[in-house]
């Protein structure tokens, strides 16, 4: 069995994870090489190869390589993409500029939205002068209302090429129901401009709603040349290094695909997705169907919910997802965030005498006051330090020392305004942050109709383990697991993800549809899925899941019914699906929201094809004795719920599976600090993770 190699290119480091055919795991790290990312990628894999005692060419010759990259999102954020020419239905040339009005606040937080007169739209990616309309019209049933004027297409193409278009994007109204006009227009465009990529909305994003669809296609076109370039070069350099397969890339929905088989816009957000996919893998290994991944970084707290062994892309927000400052229609693992993390700053509102924490962050520069880099405003990290949770002499494995006195002074200054001392403020801040994290967790579970009691919480990211026990407990979980592979977590997810493809037929239809229509639509989608898999070299072992998106007529929010039969013979089965829809609807929206007899529509038929690749090697070790005395280094006073407690300080690397650490305790690891509250206990499990229960 081939080795699976996953690479994650971060801002500072490029991480590689190799999972060998017999299930062993090796890692490699290399500084990210700006300007030539592939060199750093190969460098990181080479480090892993060294550790395996083999050479790069030998390793690559028998491996599948998956690359997660931020090249796409960087192109978008730095506005260094291609000059896109946009062709659309005449009368709708302003669609992307209007952005249904809501473009004004896309990507802004609540506070920014409330200051209405200061809000403004972002600079358009395609200016109006690079947009041309074509006389044509198709209605919602797919019927041609106005035939396409082919001369308009010719004129538009010539005009846009004349204005320097490097990519042409065509998106007509209702093309996802009837693509004839778009395909004919593409034919004409290619005749006139053979050397320019022509990208169609019916291929890139066949879904309803022309603004986010158009925006998805435009962003795709905008990053298209850069991404082609990057992967083209990577394929070449990997070839030269001994790799003869196709490079794979991670997609926003948590799968992998051959880079030339996926529209680049669907790989653009693959960074955080890798971590979530690794969470799915680990959950499987634990035999846990339901997990919430929590990631506490320097500036934000991110949450993703995994249910039934899969991440969820059911969005709880009512808006489409946002990339940079534009709405898009991309299946995305729903990761929600709030500004509550280590660098989050506290402040006092003197008029109302309230202590507030965040959302502003000191980031890593100047960072918390205790870093001594010029930060003057107390952060959550300062509070953790003053309460004894962090070790000033052993921060980041001793690579950095922290200034406790400076942190205490900053906290005391804040406290003076509301009659609290430094400790009172620090404890207050920690409680505020822990509760804010718990509130977000609760909202995200409950709004999907889930109960925290049925879930386990995973914590990673530098600041996660310090707060995990508190926020997980407040949110009603029974257990939290601090993960030890955190530093290469994303790369691990990239290496382990399944080959995933989704094929959709979007067409609004009243329910029930006829048996023939149901069977035919799913049969067509099945053929498409098999063809696409074949092109990626997969002929067997393909798992197909058939699903429907349904909603009440005139409402906008679909409920997805999964695991449906591919073919049915009895119309009664389809009637039964209405009851299944109502049950799911009640689960999500609550009792009493189902309206008997109200018309129901189907919005989309969907087939997800999944090819399972190797599994991440989380091989459990047997549990040994519970006594953790050999890992106890010292004790120190740590502040919990209104009092100082003498807490045991343990070294993570000395713990062995089965060891139990009773609270109050602090477990110090190379990159993070695990806090065990007084009435909780921690167990180092067979997979090397710390499980905290209470």
């Amino acid at each position: 069995m081939k080795a699976l190699i996953g690479v994650d290119t971060g801002g500072t480091f490029t991480d590689a994870v190799v999972i060998t055919g017999d299930g062993r795991l090796y890692t490699g790290k290399h500084p990210t090489t700006r300007g030539d990312l592939v060199r750093g990628i190969l460098g990181a894999i080479e480090v892993a190869a060294d550790r395996m005692g083999t050479r790069l060419p030998e390793l690559l010759a028998a491996a599948d390589v998956t690359i997660g990259t931020t090249a796409g999102i960087n192109t978008l954020i730095t506005r260094t993409g291609a000059r896109v020419g946009f062709i659309t239905t005449m009368g709708f040339e302003d669609t992307l500029l209007i952005g249904r009005g809501k473009l004004r606040i896309a990507g802004l937080d609540e506070e920014a939205c409330r200051a209405m007169p200061l809000t403004h739209k972002p600079e358009p990616l395609v200016p109006r002068s690079m947009t041309r309309g074509v006389e044509e019209r198709i209605d919602m049933f797919g019927d041609v209302v106005m035939p396409m004027r082919e001369d308009d297409v010719r004129q538009a193409v010539r005009y846009l090429i004349g204005r320097g278009a490097e990519v042409l994007v065509i998106s007509f109204l209702w093309s996802f129901v009837n693509d004839a006009h778009e395909r004919r227009a593409a034919q004409i465009a290619r005749e006139l401009a053979a050397d320019i990529p022509v990208l169609l909305s019916c291929e890139v994003c066949p879904q309803q709603n022309e603004y986010p669809r158009g925006m998805t296609c435009v962003i795709n076109g905008y990053i298209y040349p850069n991404m082609r370039d990057f992967f083209g070069r990577a394929q070449e350099q990997f070839g030269a290094a001994g790799y003869d397969g196709r490079l794979l890339t991670m997609t926003n929905d948590g799968g992998v695909r051959q880079w030339n088989m996926v529209h680049p816009v669907y790989t653009i957000n693959s960074g955080p997705v890798g971590g979530v996919v690794a969470g799915v893998e680990l959950a499987r290994r634990y035999g846990l169907p339901n997990v919430v991944c929590t990631d506490v970084g320097g500036t934000s707290f991110d949450v993703a919910v995994l249910r039934g062994g899969q991440y969820t892309s059911d969005r709880i927000r009512t808006d489409p997802p946002v990339l940079d400052r534009y709405h898009v229609l991309s299946p995305m693992i729903d990761v929600v965030s709030i500004g509550a993390a280590g660098g989050t700053m506290a402040w006092v509102d003197p008029l109302t005498r309230t202590l507030r924490v965040g959302p502003q962050s000191a980031g890593s520069d100047p960072g918390p006051v205790c870093y001594g880099r010029g930060g003057t405003r107390a952060t959550v990290t300062d509070a953790n330090l003053v309460l004894g949770r962090l070790n000033p002499a052993n921060f980041l494995g001793g690579r950095m020392s922290l200034d406790v006195d400076a942190a205490r002074r900053a906290l005391a200054e804040l406290g003076a305004q509301i009659g609290l001392d430094a400790i009172g403020v620090a404890e207050g801040m920690i409680r505020i942050v822990d509760h804010a994290m718990a509130d977000l967790l609760i909202k995200n579970m409950v709004m999907r109709g889930y109960s925290p009691e049925e879930f386990v919480c995973f914590a990673y990211g530098g600041g996660g383990p310090a707060h995990a026990a508190a926020y997980a407990r407040l949110a009603g979980f029974r257990k939290v697991v601090s993960l030890h592979l955190a530093p290469v977590w994303s790369a691990l997810g990239v290496s382990a993800a399944d080959l995933l493809d989704v094929h959709t037929s979007s067409r609004p239809l009243p329910w029930p549809v006829s048996v023939a229509q149901y069977n035919q639509t799913f049969a067509d989608l099945r053929d498409r899925a098999l063809t696409a898999a074949g092109l990626q070299g997969v002929s067997d072992g393909l798992l197909l899941e058939f699903s429907l998106e349904m909603k009440y007529a005139r409402t906008e929010h679909e409920v997805t019914l999964k695991g449906l039969p591919e073919q049915v013979s009895d119309p009664a089965v389809l009637d039964g699906l209405r009851r299944q829809f109502e049950l799911k609807y009640t689960e999500v929206y609550g009792k009493g929201t189902v309206v008997p007899g109200a018309p129901v529509e189907v919005s989309a038929f969907r087939v997800e094809s999944r090819h399972l690749r190797g599994r991440a090697p989380f091989a459990p070790e047997p549990l040994g004795p519970a006594d953790a005395g050999h890992a106890l280094m010292s004790t120190r006073p740590v502040y919990f719920t209104g009092a100082w407690h003498e807490a045991g300080i343990y070294a993570m690397e000395r713990l062995t599976p089965g060891n139990v650490v009773p609270g109050p305790a602090i477990i110090e690891a190379a990159y993070s600090t695990i806090v065990v509250p007084p009435d909780a206990k921690a167990l180092l499990d067979g997979l090397g993770n710390v499980e905290i229960t209470w």
Binding site: R100, R114, L118, S129, F141, Q208, T318, T354, R554
Partner: protein, 663 residues
């Protein structure tokens, strides 16, 4: 009528000639002070998350496009006494209005307010603006004690009024405005009261929508109730009661701090409007004198026009909705929006004026009047800031107070009953500031989350086909910084169900004869609103004969003339029958401009032409910008032309006689 006043007096204190709006209840002042700062912060955050959760639940279940697409949802928590404490809102109009509805339940049913009941209200004298604004209110009990109220309010298009859509120009009295329920129980013991739900469904033209909208509100309240009860368990009942009051006290203090920044004095603004309701050519106005002393602001609307004979009126909750829309969106944007603001701002509404009409008058078009009230107060805020030299980044010219709508009624493309409209005006232009142009197609006054929805979503929603939806050329106030461009649409009725005839009616016709969006600092006002219908010429015929279609409103007249169609401007006329394929259009004026257009950077003018937002004719006539043959700015010719315009202005200008005498 006295029985009506008796019932509605919860809204405020009636003093001779005036109504002074009801303030929050008085409490023991030590109560809010007893709340400790850390727990308060925990509570505030958790409460906001709970409200957001309730609001989103409702938004996902609701049917009306204003709810599901456009975010028009007011979801809030009130004290046990009915004062607004915190809101999660997609719409500013209904912020404090519901408070009075809750107080009326407390007054008239005080021994009969039970756990697990929910109450429905759509009476504009108690809350909301017109019968379309419908609230469901839920008392929250903990251990048998009433600790708070929750309320969901949204706009539902069909209310059984004299014409479909609930905003008919024919409405001339309360009894034409639709079925109104002052406060009735629609949930008893946790179950919907079926006879009331049935009565509501059978009183309107689109029974499914009102039923599902109501259930969405019940679902939102259920979600919020569960969370508030959990908070009471976590923090204790006394803490929750005290903390809700502290929210109100804090908002008042923060509001007073902002008011203190302004110079003491009297400020004045008058907002004109036309409101044609068939042959009615009068001009109305709303005027307001702001008296600012220390940290108190009084808004006195004495001098405002008497009521409109038909539907262009507002009741006190509608007026206060407009006032708070401007105050919250433009001044108190960073303060929790609640009843505490009513202590810092005194509002005086003269009895019997257009924004405080007697209960028997029609108020079906109140959203326009509330919008105008918001615009009037926005103009006042600009004056306060300019005179005081503070909060300069927030100075911005007025936004269009309202747009027009076409209401389509009959049956939809699947043959189901239908009566509704598309809300493209959510993407209106915003006002220019002294620093930059107004945002194009950005928002309406009342909607921090304004969303005009996608054309494909509207076409799936009803029997409608768009021929175009565009940013309107030359639609903004011209100035050194121009206002934001507004939106225009061209539509037809397309494939309606065959059984019912389709009728079409224009809603909201103000701003056709006078601009209601003045400029600031020497800029032009924004252009007029426009609604039109073309009779006798079918789009389908034109397509069959291979002709091009009209996509913009400025093409309609010519298009009609070429096909012997009648180009009819329909402003506030009653509904009429239409076959499918007849063209109707709508456009609204954009944001006001800022500063003299002759001081606009000519390059910016050229860019606007390039982006098809400005016609070369306007560029030459108003901005004095002359373009060379290659489309670039001819700097010299521009300067010459600008001097000419300045001279023309001097020759046109004259000093009024009384001033001349003084010289």
């Amino acid at each position: 009528m006295s029985h009506m006043y008796e019932f509605y007096k919860v809204v405020g204190e009636r003093i001779p000639g005036y109504l002074r709006l009801a303030r929050p209840a008085e409490w023991d002042p030590t109560l809010p002070a007893s709340v400790d700062p850390i727990n308060y912060e925990l509570f505030r955050h958790a409460l906001y998350q709970a409200l957001d959760e309730g609001k989103q639940t409702m938004q996902r279940v609701g049917v009306s496009p204003v709810i599901r697409d456009c975010g028009e949802v007011a979801y809030a928590v009130y004290t046990a006494e009915g004062d607004l404490a915190l809101s999660a809102t997609g719409i500013l109009f209904h912020l404090v209005g519901i408070s009075w509805a809750i107080k009326s339940i407390l007054r008239f049913h005080k021994d009969d307010i039970l756990e697990d009941d929910q109450w429905f209200m759509n009476d504009p004298q108690l809350g909301g603006m017109h019968a379309c604004d419908q609230a469901v209110m839920a008392p929250v009990f903990y251990a048998g004690e009433l600790i708070a109220w929750l309320s969901c309010m949204t706009h539902t298009p069909e209310v059984g009024a004299i014409d479909p859509g609930g905003m008919s120009p024919r409405s001339a009295e309360r009894y034409h405005d639709g079925v109104m329920y002052p406060c009735v129980r629609i949930v008893r013991g946790g179950e919907p009261v079926s006879e009331i739900m049935r009565m509501m469904a059978l009183s309107v033209r689109d029974p499914n929508t009102i039923t599902m909208d109501n259930l969405s509100k019940v679902a939102g309240n259920n979600r919020g109730k569960q969370r508030v009860i959990e908070l009471a368990q976590r923090f204790g009942v006394n803490f929750v009661r005290a903390a809700l009051k502290k929210l109100i006290v804090d908002s008042e203090a923060l509001a007073r701090q902002k008011i203190r920044q302004f110079e003491d004095g009297e400020y004045f603004n008058r907002q004109y409007m036309d409101n044609d309701t068939g042959g009615n050519e009068k001009i109305w106005w709303i005027q307001c004198t702001a008296r600012k002393r220390g940290d108190q602001l009084t808004l006195d609307f004495a001098g405002t026009s008497p009521p409109n004979p038909t539907c262009g009126n507002a009741a006190p909750p509608g007026a206060v909705g407009g006032i708070f829309t401007a105050l919250c969106g433009h001044l108190f944007y960073d303060i929790p929006w609640n009843s505490g603001l009513l202590n810092a701002i005194e509002i005086l509404l003269p009895e019997g004026c257009v924004i405080n009409v007697p209960p028997h008058k029609s108020v079906s078009n109140a959203p326009q009047i509330s919008h105008l009230t918001a615009a009037c107060v926005h103009g006042l805020l600009n004056r306060l800031r300019l005179a005081s030299g503070v909060q300069k980044e927030f100075i911005n010219a007025q936004w269009p107070p309202c747009g027009g709508l076409w209401c389509v009624a009959g049956s939809d493309q699947f043959g189901r009953p239908f009566a509704s409209y598309t809300l493209d005006y959510m993407a209106s232009g915003m006002g220019a500031s002294p620093l930059r142009d107004g945002c194009d197609t950005g928002a309406v006054y009342y909607g921090p989350e304004s969303d005009g929805a996608d054309v494909e979503a509207w076409e799936r929603y009803g029997p409608i086909l768009y021929l175009g939806r565009s940013q309107t050329r030359d639609s903004f106030g011209l100035g050194r910084f121009r206002g934001g461009a507004s939106i225009e649409t061209v539509q037809i009725v397309h494939k309606p169900g065959s059984e019912t005839e389709t009728i079409l009616g224009p809603l909201g016709g103000s701003g056709r004869r006078i601009s209601m969006t003045p400029g600031l600092g020497g800029a032009y006002p924004a252009p007029l609103n426009y609604l039109c219908y073309i009779d006798g010429a079918s789009v389908y015929d034109a397509i069959r004969s291979g002709e091009r279609l009209p996509h913009r409103t400025d093409e309609l007249e010519e298009w009609a003339a070429a096909r012997q169609g009648d180009h009819i401007i329909k402003i506030m006329s009653p509904f009429f029958s239409t076959p499918p394929g007849r063209v109707y259009g709508m456009r609204i004026g954009g944001g006001g401009g800022y500063g003299d257009p002759l001081r606009r950077d000519p390059e910016r003018v050229r860019e606007d032409i390039d982006e098809e937002l400005l016609s070369p004719e306007t560029a030459a006539a108003v901005f004095g910008v002359v373009l060379g043959p290659d489309g670039s700015v001819d700097t010299e010719a521009t300067e010459v032309r600008r001097q000419e315009i300045r001279r023309e202005r001097l020759s046109r200008g004259h000093v009024p006689a009384e001033r001349r005498a003084r010289r």
